[in-house]
């Protein structure tokens, strides 16, 4: 199955977004948080991202969802030499839920990315 990593400036936010997504979609597909710096401060860590990607990588590709700022830059730097890891331009929480739900159906990498990105356009009030 496709793996999912949530990278955020905030370790707690990434963890809670993972928990919410797992609460909704279950734990069949692998998803991990990569938040905060190596020292646990606010910021992002390439090392944490690498570790999280390695943990969720089952050989079918990995989708990374970023919140803002340095998370985006760190993720972009990471995928420069990883064709099997794709960044989704998606809302952090909603994209994570959609991606996990889709990954669990056994969908392919591009389908999981598309599901995450579609979260942008799904209205909550209709």
């Amino acid at each position: 199955m496709v793996g999912i990593v949530l990278i955020s400036h905030s370790a707690a936010l990434a963890e809670e977004a993972v928990a919410l997504a797992v609460g909704i979609a279950g734990e069949d597909a692998p998803i991990r948080p990569a938040g905060g710096t190596d020292d646990g401060d606010l910021g992002t860590s390439l090392t944490k991202l690498e570790e999280a990607v390695a943990e969720v990588d089952q050989g079918d590709g990995v989708v990374v969802i970023m919140d803002l700022g340095s998370a985006v830059l760190t993720a972009r730097t990471f995928v420069e030499d990883r064709a099997d890891v794709v960044l989704a331009d998606a809302p952090f929480v909603e994209g994570a839920v959609n991606a996990l739900v889709t990954a669990q159906t056994g969908a392919a990498l591009d389908e999981v990315v598309a599901a995450a990105e579609e979260a942008r356009t799904i209205g909550k009030l209709c």
């Binding site: 710096t37 910021g43 860590s45 700022g69 340095s70 972009r76 730097t77």
Partner: protein, 195 residues
């Protein structure tokens, strides 16, 4: 310019970042999250250790190790950006023992393009690009011209409204403060002529 030149450059940058740490952090307090000095100090301290642990054999070694270490250890937006700068310099100068002025100027031009692409930033967005882009122009002439242009570029960010990075969330209120990343970029470029 040989391996020793590039090592001296990085050493001077490390020392100046350490000396200016609080100033850079204060600039980031005004329009960011008050960590730019701490971020770069942590990053270059790690670079110092990495270069000491495995002495580099070529200019490219110095530059690539610097970039790779910064990406991994800075922790803020400036980490991937400076990391990409130094790694692109390393890739551009290639596997040589001596780098000509022309080769360095060309490497900086390529690094500018790579950093702009990574951050999706343009000149005028009030970022490190506003010091780096004029430095690349100046470097066509000399390291002195590059340093001068980078410093002018950094100072010119005061009047700009931020369009990238955390400061962009401040909108109008980002005007009137010099950008921390542009300030550190001017420091990095200026250190070249002291190396």
């Amino acid at each position: 310019m040989d391996t020793a030149f590039f090592l001296r450059w990085i050493t001077i940058v490390t020392e100046r970042v350490r000396a200016d740490r609080d100033h850079l952090t204060d600039l980031d307090r005004a329009i960011g999250d008050a960590d730019h000095g701490a971020n770069l100090d942590r990053g270059f301290t790690a670079v110092e250790e990495a270069l000491a642990a495995k002495p580099p054999e070529t200019p490219a070694d110095v530059l690539t190790t610097t970039g790779t270490t910064l990406i991994r250890r800075v922790g803020g937006a400036s980490g991937p950006l400076y990391g990409t700068l130094f790694r692109t310099l390393g890739r551009s100068v290639g596997d040589v023992a001596e780098v000509s002025h022309e080769a360095l100027a060309e490497a900086f031009a390529q690094a500018l393009a790579a950093v702009m692409k990574l951050g999706s930033a343009q000149e005028g967005d009030k970022t490190m690009i506003d010091a780096l882009a004029p430095a690349v122009q100046g470097m066509r002439t000399s390291l002195d011209a590059a340093a001068q242009a980078a410093g002018d570029g950094a100072r010119a960010t005061t009047a700009m409204r931020a369009r990238k990075g955390r400061a962009s969330y401040l909108g109008e209120r980002s005007i009137g403060h010099q950008d921390p990343g542009a300030t550190s970029m001017a420091l990095v470029v200026d250190a070249l002529r002291a190396a």
